[in-house]
Amino acid sequence: MDAHEEMAASYGTHHGGSNKLYMTVWFSLVGLTLAEVYLAYLHFDPVAMLLMLIGLSILKAGLIVAYFMHLRFEKLGLVLTLVPATIFCIGMMTVIFPDSVRLMHVRLMH
């Protein structure tokens, strides 16, 4: 067994979940999906609707990453390397949105 195989055997395939946990997560994901579909047929302000749907999607993404992708059971160092950098980069992309609202008003005036 080479060094990489030893590491994979000792670290790479470590798991912390049980079938019961995975089924609970799966039913939660299906439930949240159906809640999103139900929400889509209610009358809300578009911004409020978008925030609710994105909020539920972030919750679903968190469940998938934490339990199905096992990040919940990895070393904290890996979590701290992956998650804050991703959130920061996604956050930086949102700076374009005020310009889209400005452009919408410009186009509505003409």
């Binding site: 994979a8 999906t33 889509a40 609707m49 310009d99």
Partner: protein
Amino acid sequence: MTEAHSEAVVTGPWSGGGSPYAIGHKKLGMWLFILSDVMTFTALLMAYSYSRISNPDWPAHVFPIFPAIIFSTTMTVVLLASSLTMVMAVAAAHRKDRGSAVKWLLATMAGGLIFCVLHVMEWFHLIEEGVRPFTNPWGSPLFGAAFFGITGLHMTHVLCGVIYLGIVAFGYGTSRFKDEDVEVSGLYWHFVDLVWMFVFPMIYLMSVKY
């Protein structure tokens, strides 16, 4: 510096003496690939949102309950089910149960293929209504480009995933691949599922009432 201290530094995880993340290099590589792909899909969804907000003539109410919402909701549940079968495949590989792992991998591939078939049917329905990448009967031509671009790239990921899982199933079934290879392919598959969790509400559900 004592000899013991010196050795501790050399073999310390942050000194190159071990793995600071305690995972194999394949798994770390897949996590880094996933991060780069997160940026790709985020940029596309941001561009979609920007285009939608800045174009007052963006097509509204384009997705009726049938077939679009029924189909896309079914596709979501199918993709989630394939994630569960993938979890079972990884758990079976962890138990060194190669036969079960391959069966669960094949079930996951079947889920991916069902997703693609439903998606193509839904695409054809929109194409019949006159939606093309650069034109549509309802308003801003960007709608078609954004819709086919984002959902097409996602479907490409699903198809690549089905092929990838097929290779892993064959390799693991014939003992050429190791348990970790099944787990790494699982990371990719769950990521494809995760992306759809944002594409579905942003593109489909936000077009039901607005």
